[in-house]
Structures are given as structure tokens and as C-alpha cells.
Symmetry: C2
Subunit: 159 residues, 2 copies
């Protein structure tokens, strides 16, 4: 299992603290996904999609722990019941808004990722495949969750 970096993020965020925790918290935040030359032909027809999944390798995340207090709660949960970036494989998914493709640069919105983060994959967001509007969502349905929290701090960042 050998990973290949296919691109890199250009975003306004250089530190975890203050970075939006999810795309829905990142309204108005824009940036670019730069795709490296060998992969350019793979972008054909991507501009027909309003949203795209981008898979990132969170190179700045610290060592994973199996119990974590996520940004949006005050008590610990199992790591796999959270979207914390410090994971055995620190692969993070974001469904960002795709505005325009110009050569090897994807202009995107609702970006919640640190500048310089390696990109592993890009996939179209397909509502028929990916959208389940009203699902039971465990601790996130609970009143304890700090629903107002929309930006990260440095708890999962490598020092």
C-alpha cells in the first residue's frame, strides 16, 4: 500500500487554530487545489460537478489516540466515532464547492484544510451516492455537543 501525492492545497490557513472544522463551517473561504502534471488528463469533465470530494493526507496531525475529545464536544469518544484528523491513517475527506478549473488549478470554496496539505485523490460528489439527509448521528445529536464550535484549536496538531 504505497501512497502517491497527486497535488497540494493552497489555502489561507497556516495553523490548525482558527481553521474551520468542516466545509459547512467554511462559508466564504476560498482556495485552490493544485494537481500535478501527470494527473491533468484525469480532470476532464470534472467541471460538471458542483461539489467534489478531496482526500487529504493530514501531514501536520499528531499521533492518534483511540479516545479523543473532539472539537464539538466536552467529553471523550472513540476516535472512529469522530472526524478528528489524528488517525492511524490521517486521511481526511472534505466535500468542497468547485468553482472553476483553470489548467492544473481547481478554484474551490468551503475549504477547511491547512495550506500545503498533500492531496491524495479527487472524486465527484454524487448526491445519489453520498447524500443521506436525516441520519441518526450519535453524540452529535446530543445536547452536550458544542454545536457553536466552528473553528479548530491545536489539540490535534503536531508540535
Amino acid at each position: 500500500m504505497q501512497l502517491t501525492q497527486i497535488g497540494v492545497v493552497h489555502s489561507p490557513f497556516d495553523r490548525a487554530s482558527g481553521t474551520p472544522v468542516q466545509p459547512f463551517c467554511a462559508a466564504g473561504t476560498e482556495g485552490h487545489i493544485e494537481v500535478f502534471d501527470p494527473y491533468l488528463d484525469g480532470l476532464h469533465d470534472l467541471d460538471g460537478f458542483q461539489r467534489i470530494w478531496v482526500l487529504f493526507w493530514c501531514h501536520r496531525s499528531n499521533r492518534p489516540k483511540m479516545k479523543v475529545i473532539p472539537y464539538r464536544d466536552t467529553v471523550a469518544h472513540g476516535l472512529f466515532a469522530t472526524r478528528a484528523p489524528s488517525r492511524p491513517n490521517p486521511i481526511v475527506l472534505s466535500t468542497v464547492r468547485l468553482y472553476e478549473i483553470s489548467g492544473n488549478m481547481l478554484h474551490v470554496g468551503e475549504l477547511d484544510i491547512l495550506n500545503g496539505t498533500p492531496v491524495l485523490d479527487i472524486k465527484p460528489y454524487v448526491s445519489q451516492y453520498d447524500s443521506y439527509p436525516a441520519q441518526r448521528c450519535g453524540w452529535l445529536d446530543d445536547n452536550r455537543a458544542k454545536r457553536g464550535v466552528i473553528v479548530a484549536d491545536n489539540r490535534f496538531e503536531m508540535v
Copy 2:
């Protein structure tokens, strides 16, 4: 960027041909995600979620090409405008239904993945983060798309 296998798929599918192309095509299909011992504590509270994302390493996919004819169309598209499993990093996302967790075994439904596939990550599906019901979806909105196709053939399978 070093990947770690955290678990393995137990599914009824031993070959690509006949495997559902997406979870929404896999109604009634059940299987298990086995999670390896070092990661068991990370499953705490996951049972509160109706659906989970599972990230797989498609170890049986063939070499990626930048233009592919996907299962659900008859013409070629850029690889990143498709969900084909043969990719520079053959990481596939499925949002499967979570029925029950028993020890290190997750009983799941709507599973569209080959038996024996390595598991890289598990995340909760959160409607607030992941659900965008009516998005523009490029060639998949087009009449040419073979919408009736719900199972794969062997075009992306390593021989």
C-alpha cells in the same frame, strides 16, 4: 505517508463482476468489517451512528488510466470525474449502514466491497457535514448515463 491496515472486509463478493457499484445499489447486501485489536477502543460510541464511512484500499484494482469509461456510461471521462476504483491512490469511500458492533466485528449493510479488502479508516456519517441532496452531477445528470447499471464488471480488476 505510510499506510496502516486497521481491519479487513468480510463480504459475499469474491470478484468484481457482479459486485454492486455503490452502496445504494447494494440493498439487502450484508457483511462485516473486522477491526484489528490495537484499534478496538476507537470504536466506542460509534454504535450511535446509523451510517459510517469506511475507507478501503482497493488492492485488486488494476493500474489507473487518466481517461476511463465508467460502469454507468458508454463514453470516457477523466478519472477524477468518476468513482472508478483504479486510481493513483486506490482509496474507495463507502457509506454503509451500521447494524451492530459485536467486539471487533461491525455488522454492516449496503456493502459494495470485495471480500478481503484492507480497511484504512472508519468515520461517522454526519448528515450536517456530508449530505448535499441536490447537487449538479456532470455526466451523471446526462441521459447517456447507463442509470440501470448497478453491478460492476471486471474492467478495473487486476488480472
